[in-house]
């Protein structure tokens, strides 16, 4: 468990440092920063103080802390997938709009009745 704890801690430090870097470069919103920061802090707590996770789990009527973490993780992952999907849809729509605008602006009209021939 100790080796795993060390690996996870190193990963978490890197993750938080990266998060701060993203915030400084304005690549992430303050809300986004806070969300991910809390996620990583929660992961750290679960690994270093698993009994705390169990106490919280008990508050929600779940026996084991590990189960509680898995349930929360699944919810978070699904929510993120939903957000990514929705974002991809939006990007896709925007790409179509740009492609369409370029196509129409650069129309090549060779009709016989076209005065621009």
């Amino acid at each position: 468990m100790t080796i795993l704890k060390i690996i996870i801690t190193i990963f978490l430090v890197f993750a938080v440092l990266n998060l701060i870097k993203q915030l400084k470069k304005s690549r992430i919103s303050r809300a986004g920063f806070l969300f991910w920061f809390l996620i990583w802090v929660a992961v750290g707590i679960v690994f270093w103080r698993p009994e705390l996770a169990t106490q919280i789990a008990n508050q929600f009527g779940i026996g084991r802390g590990a189960d509680f973490v898995i349930y929360i993780s699944i919810i978070v992952i699904f929510y993120q997938i939903f957000r990514i999907y929705s974002r991809i849809e939006k990007i896709d729509t925007n790409i179509t709009k740009i492609t369409r605008k370029i196509a129409i602006n650069n129309a090549q009209d060779k009709r016989e009745n076209n005065i621009n021939n």
């Binding site: 999907y85 929705s86 849809e89 896709d92 729509t93 790409i95 179509t96 492609t99 369409r100 370029i102 196509a103 129409i104 650069n106 129309a107 090549q108 009209d109 060779k110 009709r111 016989e112 009745n113």
Partner: protein, 224 residues
């Protein structure tokens, strides 16, 4: 023939170098306003289309059939179209059947007319499409949109300017057939189906294509 109404024929084309010439050879003798949307073809479709007296719109990125049709609609509306016809680049529809679609609109009786493979004229529809894919498509249309037509996936259609202004195609891929049907019903347009012939070469959706359409419809419903 055009009866002073400005008719625009919209043809989405993706890698159609083998078929587009014969389609344009025939169409250009009968219609003045033909718009081909080259959907980022990797073959010589664009070079071939440039030889004809038509409008060529180039999608610099492949956006698929539904997106191409809407690009054509936008161009036609911008250039004063009264009637817009959606046609196919691979020669599956018959040019001389376009008049069957536009006549009911010309007469002022209908807003949108769909060609149907399931009315009097008999297209040689492959067995799997006729007995599995189309019945399933009808069920999907009925459940998701409450639509009931003889041909659930008709891509041959004509519509008035006002209809095209209302029906904005948001499904970039192949789900536009169901989408246009759905919106035609939603906006309470006067709808007619007329018999059409379809020549099957490499046309259309196989079963996995059908699944993709249903997936696209569901995703759009959730994320819109």
């Amino acid at each position: 023939m055009e009866n002073n109404k400005k008719i625009f024929i919209i043809i989405p084309a993706w890698n159609e170098e083998k078929n587009i010439s014969s389609v344009l050879d025939e169409l250009t003798t009968q219609y003045e306003n033909i718009v081909v949307i080259n959907d980022s073809s990797t073959d010589k479709t664009s070079e071939i289309v440039k030889k004809y007296p038509v409008v060529l719109l180039e999608h610099i990125i492949n956006r698929d059939q539904g997106a191409s049709l809407q690009t054509g609609n936008d161009y036609a509306l911008k250039n004063g179209a009264d009637i817009i016809v959606h046609f196919d680049a691979d020669g599956q529809f018959l040019v001389n059947e376009i008049k069957d679609l536009i006549n009911p609109i010309m007469n002022g009786d209908y807003d949108i007319v769909f060609g149907s493979r399931f009315m009097e004229k008999q297209s040689e529809i492959p067995w799997s499409k006729k007995n599995i894919i189309f019945p399933l498509a009808r069920i999907v249309n009925k459940i998701m949109f409450g639509i009931k037509t003889t041909d659930p996936q008709s891509g041959f259609r004509a519509m008035t300017r006002e209809s095209a202004e209302k029906i904005k195609i948001e499904h970039d891929r192949k789900a536009h057939c169901s989408e246009i049907l759905h919106k035609a019903f939603k906006y309470k347009l006067k709808i007619k189906e007329v018999p059409m012939t379809v020549i099957y070469n490499r046309f259309g959706q196989n079963f996995s294509g059908g699944i993709t359409i249903v997936k696209d419809l569901i995703i759009k419903k959730i994320f819109r």
